[in-house]
Symmetry: C2
Subunit: 145 residues, 2 copies
């Protein structure tokens, strides 16, 4: 098993376009060594990073936030299982939060449809606190989060 991956190999393995991998490198999300001829060679560990990046993106986290999270991993040595676990703990909270939000949105929508209150009056979804009467009649849209 060879130690380093070319960009083509990393792209094929990760399913991420080469242009995107170079872009991630510019943003500081992944790292590569260079051959004498200036070609990128990736540690196998970068595959983990790329996977992590795509997963995080899926749940709506920006590349900048992802970069910040990945910066918490030690650059000098290969991250251990504990390093990843520490990072994962933080992110689990994010996932939990998003799941909670989605559930609330769905349930609220169900409730609104059910009660026929999509008129935006007396509706917990659009007017959660019912304290917005300051500027004339009617509710104001308040988005959760």
């Amino acid at each position: 098993m060879q130690e380093a991956l070319t960009i083509g190999q990393l792209s094929a393995r990760s399913g991420v376009a080469q242009s995107a991998l170079r872009y991630y490198e510019r943003l500081g999300l992944i790292r590569a060594e260079r051959t004498s001829g200036n070609q990128r060679r990736y540690h196998r560990g970068e595959l983990r990073r790329v996977a992590f990046i795509r997963i995080a993106q899926q749940v709506g986290i920006s590349l900048e936030e992802i970069r910040a999270a990945l910066d918490s991993l030690p650059a000098a040595r290969t991250p251990t299982a504990e390093d990843w676990a520490r990072l994962s703990t933080t992110w689990r909270a994010r996932l939990d939060e998003r799941i909670r939000l989605l559930n609330r949105l769905r349930d609220d929508l169900d409730a609104c449809i059910g009660c026929g209150c999509l008129s935006l009056r007396r509706c917990t979804l659009y007017n959660p606190e019912d304290n917005l009467a300051g500027e004339g009649p009617g509710a104001r849209l308040v988005l959760p989060g």
Copy 2:
């Protein structure tokens, strides 16, 4: 209760910037009548549409997809509760799907961290079907959805 809302009123009520409301109109997401002096006047029902748009956006649905969904509402008459309910049913499925996906992502991540398999080998998260051995050894990243 006045019948029509100005753009300023709709903006204040919905929490959406006027520029965004004009943008939505250009994309065909909302509609407005015009005064003799060419100013927009919104039916109160447009408030529902705007709220719907923001909610849908929150769960990561593009404006184009939202437009397609809203096109299913009758343009001629004010949508009834049944019209909205029909639309909501479709979207509930979307929400359920996204919730399912997020849960899976979280659980898989937990499992991967737990088993130390973030090496992308023998890992259900990165290699759900374990049938990707065609092009050399090692797993390929396969994103769900």
